[in-house]
Amino acid sequence: MKTDNFELFRAIGNADDRFIDEMLDGRTESLIKEKNKRRYVKGRLAVRSIAAAAAAAAVVFAAADLGILGGSEDGGLHAERAEQNAVVLDTQTETEDAEITEENAETADKSDEMTEAAEEKEIKEEFSTAVDGLPEENETQEKDISENNTDSLMTGTVTTATSNSSDTDEDYPDTDGITEADIASADNLVQAAKYYGLDCESVVYSGGERSFTEEDFELLFGGDGAKSRSVSPEGSALETLTTEEFILLECTLDREDAPDEFTMKIYSTGLVCTYFDGEEFYFMFSPYGGKRVYDILLGE
């Protein structure tokens, strides 16, 4: 059977009465409005919590390479950090729809007023706070390792996780003996995230399965933004983006089950993506920074 867009448009006009009534119903409108309001409040809160967790997760990779994870004395430091992060993430999970306090609403209102730059600054500070506490030497080495690891980590794998407030320390896997090679595998990304209080569920996609279309890029960077930054799938402007410490992007992934709203933050040490599927937040972490992130997204 053949159809054209005009016929399709006409057929939509004959949709069931209940859908038309629903669309015109004022109560439905306020309900959706309210839901969206809550959704963006939660989104902002979660992004902040996850930024800290991601920074800490990046530390795991550096720490593991230096042999300070697990059995060594410095393991205590990481365990402490894990607890702190678990608290942050617990707070995020416990912020259920019904439990959003007025205080959170106020925070959200404040956030609304904040400029994008101010938000960036705040998250940057949180990011650096999470990394603080490590010996300076380790920080330098972490950067080196992060750069060196990108090649060995080019499995193109990104993990997804949800925070789980019911987790206890006993639920976390034993991270003793993690090697650099182990970290290069998706399973250990999952493990590392678990160590920091995140309950990873599965690997969401692997490099090579993903290809971006021009339309995706428009959605990713916004019509005008794309032009002003001269971003194109082949464009060298991608490298310009990598020089920024992080960039807030709304993007779409070409996957059937990809979320409607997707927030991506790119740090020099990795990529953090969050989304809300209507019930809970999901978290994606990739230890790739800068251009590598785009290589993966482009499926290279």
């Binding site: 159809t3 038309i20 669309m23």
Partner: protein, 200 residues
């Protein structure tokens, strides 16, 4: 026109308006216009893009209401009226486009309609096909979460601009763009699954 003490015109309930149609009272039309005039006009003008044509479509809608009620008794008068005005506006648009094509290109394809052996059965076939597409769309709409369904209807039934929908529901316009993009892809899959394919 009946006016309340506060100066606001009294608007009848749908049931009362339908009752007026059944009683064949002339006021049925004016009451419909009072309650749904602006609604009809907003749908029509988005489709035909011309104030005078829209006005004509709205008047034709009232005439059609007069003819169809009774015997029909709509469950939702609003949806019933909306569908009529939308269909009439689309007919008007199609006529306008066809006239424009005739003027510009002088394509004689309209004349060929005379060659079609049994026009009534073709209409029947088209009606059936249209009903099948509508079934498919209803299935698709049922499968969506409420908010997405409403966004879709606002855009493709009501013809509302994306920016207005985004503002109405407090959602970033960019996010809404992404949602609509996904919904279109989903609908395409749904239609393909039901055996429809593109083309005239």
């Amino acid at each position: 026109m009946e006016i309340t003490t506060s100066g606001v015109p009294v608007v009848l309930e749908d049931e009362e308006i339908i009752k007026l149609y059944f009683e064949r009272a002339q006021s049925a039309i004016s009451e419909t216009d009072k309650k749904y005039g602006a609604f009809c006009k907003s749908i029509s003008i988005r489709l035909v893009g011309d104030d005078r044509d829209a006005e004509e479509c709205v008047n034709d809608t009232y005439l059609k209401l007069w003819v169809t009620i009774p015997p029909q008794r709509p469950n939702s008068l609003c949806a019933f009226i909306g569908k009529i005005v939308r269909n009439l506006s689309l007919d008007c648009l199609r006529r306008k486009n066809a006239a424009k094509r005739r003027e510009n290109d002088a394509l004689p394809f309209e004349e060929l309609s005379e060659c079609i052996p049994d026009n009534s059965s073709q209409n029947e076939w088209e009606e059936r096909r249209r009903a099948e597409i509508s079934d498919c769309i209803n299935g698709f709409l049922s499968s969506l979460p409420q908010d997405q369904r409403v966004y879709f209807m606002r855009r493709y039934w009501y013809g509302e601009p994306l920016a207005d929908i985004a503002e109405r529901y407090g959602i970033p316009a960019n996010n809404l763009g992404v949602i609509m993009h996904r919904l279109r892809k989903k609908l395409k899959k749904c239609l393909e699954k039901s055996g429809f394919r593109g083309g005239q």
